[in-house]
């Protein structure tokens, strides 16, 4: 048996139906039929369909059947790096390094990163670009103790990929606030937009799986070239 468990095979079979054979609102075979065709128990079928239902690929109506769901236009919001995000939008990510220096955390950043104000942090300021055009002005702060020698690496690419590959720091979740604002003249120049244009101010603290703060980022996004698209769901 080269491929995974039965559930995995069932999943592939059903997904093939959903993606290639059927259209939205078409009815899938009944659970009992699937169990018979694929020679697995109905409970296994149900576990697979439970997952597909959670992933919003199908919906179920008791007494009626299981049906193919209308495909989503926008993905639900997930944690991605700027680089990933831009690649998904079909653009080539890049950045121009403005600042890369060692300093003490200070009260504000120290608070966010659970450090004392005197602890050393690495401060990186970059203009992030997509297809060469400025999109975002980003200040990142990383505890130096977690990433010694970070300043000697190439900081033009994805910071997260760097932290993951060189320091085994894997971002698992982030807390983020998003506000609307207007850009002041200095920042406007860096972003190549007129002064007082509309922009997003995004403040993010990133954590690893153990709940340790890894990074604080404070960014300014042009609103004319960047907006959020997301799908929201009713909780429970």
């Amino acid at each position: 048996m080269p491929n995974g468990g039965k559930a995995e095979q069932v999943r592939r079979h059903v997904l093939h139906l959903v993606e290639a054979q059927l259209r939205p609102h078409d009815k899938l075979p009944t659970e009992r039929e699937l169990a018979g065709e694929l020679a697995v128990s109905r409970l296994t079928i149900r576990r697979v369909l439970d997952n597909l239902e959670r992933e919003r690929r199908v919906y179920r109506v008791q007494g009626a059947g299981t049906f193919v769901r209308e495909p989503q236009v926008a993905k639900s919001l997930e944690l991605t790096s700027f680089s990933e995000d831009m690649r998904q939008r079909g653009m080539v990510p890049g950045s121009r390094l403005l600042t890369a220096e060692r300093g003490s955390a200070g009260a504000h950043i120290g608070q966010e990163l659970a450090l004392s104000p005197a602890d050393p942090v690495v401060h990186i300021a970059r203009v992030r670009t997509a297809d060469g055009e400025p999109i975002c002005l980003e200040h990142s702060y990383i505890p130096e103790a977690l990433a010694p020698g970070l300043l000697d690496l190439d900081l033009e690419g994805s910071l997260y990929e760097l932290l993951s590959a060189h320091f085994r720091l894997h971002l698992e979740h982030a807390e983020q606030t998003i506000a609307a604002t207007v850009v002041d003249p200095d920042d406007a120049h860096l972003l190549s937009v007129p002064p007082f244009s509309a922009a997003f101010r995004v403040e993010r603290t990133g954590f690893d799986a153990r709940g340790r703060p890894i990074e604080r980022a404070e960014s300014l996004y042009r609103s004319d070239r960047y907006h959020y698209e997301l799908t929201l769901y009713r909780g429970q």
Copy 2:
């Protein structure tokens, strides 16, 4: 049996442990122990724990056990009505009705609601308030065929609760885009902010469980009194 099924009882029991008895990273009883104590089968326990794991209340390590997860600070972004949202922030929601009229959908709104441009829609414009202060200027469009007589109801409260209670229209998910903008003088007056202040422009199409568009809403939120706070997770 006044309360729900066994799974529901098990869930309450385990949730009590997680919230009141144990601390983060403490070990829950094993699945077999829980099954014995609560006199249900292990499979029922597992279904409950599967759900709690998805909700990030617990985490599991094969061969080791199930453990209480570190509590989340901010909730992940979920679909809520303006009224719910404001109540969660500890404020009293309200609204001032500006417009409530019947009209034809037109090309743009028709497109979003999957109607032809001539189909009738109800257009409701309101200033949404929190503790009496304007927060958001909102234009809502609802297909009249789905909610006949909507205009005769009290439109000062939650529109979603109205649609749910009177027309069995239950919002299940929404696709939303968020942009940063500045408010023009007319809208600034309605929101009691200076002209050209920063604001969010939110455009949302809401769907029911079958994927039918139910509502289109185009809103303008003051940024000085409203911002997004959310927790993001790495996908898969």
